[in-house]
Amino acid sequence: MADNSAAAVQVNAHGEAHNPALLHHFAEPQQQRDAASLGMWVFLATEVMFFGGLFCAYLVYRRWYFGDFAAASKTINMGYGATNTAVLICSSLTVVLAVWAAQTARRTLLIVSLVITMLLGVTFLGIKGIEYREKFVEHHVPGASFSFDKVPIPGHPGQYANPRHAQLFFSLYFVMTGLHALHMIIGLGIFLWLLTMAWKGRFTPEWHTPVEIGGLYWHFVDIVWIYLFPLLYLIDRHP
């Protein structure tokens, strides 16, 4: 092993043709890129199962307590959810622009796209924070002070939601949106790192793997929200 690596270094020192962006165990840049994105996709597959368990729990309880879930869902502000969906879609656009900028060596566009993506991510979390605050004010946070009295079940006049079942909805709401928000915070950290790398000019058309892989992560988080929005906010909204 030691002999091999020493030999490899020597070859480089002699200035023989070797792409500095290519690691030794890959035959060509395309293979290196494919390996990196494959690894990211395997990680995203585990994330699908991670969120999948929560979606599964949600489905079971939504079937059992549909009326209570519909009543609870109607108390969440749909406008915040819809705005946040649009914010995330915009951020996904700036992420593909960032990847494209890295591929085509446009440093300014890359930096601007990364900054806008992060601003949109912070906007999402800010709106989420306002929404959470309202839940605390309304005592809709599961726990000792939870209260959900006399909330009518949509489509069933004179019937009120069972607070215990509504509390289950809010537990799922906070765990699912909370886990999603945690992913957003991690995503912001990754993008801050990408930004410093881009600022130093580390990315080239030959090597910009972190931008591509960070982008995959951001898009995945967007996809999770694409499902969370209708499932949590829009159960039964018609008048």
Binding site: D34, A45, C56, H219, P230
Partner: protein
């Protein structure tokens, strides 16, 4: 590097972006209609179309040179559907409860 000198992908990106915004507006509008038991189906269909657009065009699953990537995506979906499908075949068919 030849793979990067193809025609610009930007028109596709912007088309997908607008489709996603239209899908969001559509899903909000559909939620205000009384479609009975089809409300959930409509919402999930729109969400799945949006997710597919993001995966295919933004995450470059379409045009991925490595077939293994597509295999991983399909495997993830398969096991997710297995999880949800088999669970619901149990809970949705408990006629005694």
């Amino acid at each position: 590097m030849s793979e990067h000198s193809k025609s610009s992908p930007l028109p596709t990106y912007f088309a997908v972006f607008f489709a996603l915004l239209v899908g969001t507006a559509l899903t909000v509008y559909a939620a205000t209609l009384d479609l009975g038991k089809y409300n959930a189906a409509v919402a999930l269909t729109i969400a799945s179309v949006k997710a597919t657009l993001v995966a295919l065009f933004f995450m470059h699953v379409k045009g991925a040179s490595e077939k293994l990537t597509k295999l991983v995506v399909i495997a993830a979906l398969f096991f997710l559907l297995l999880l949800l499908g088999l669970t619901m075949t149990d809970y949705a068919t408990r006629l005694w409860s």
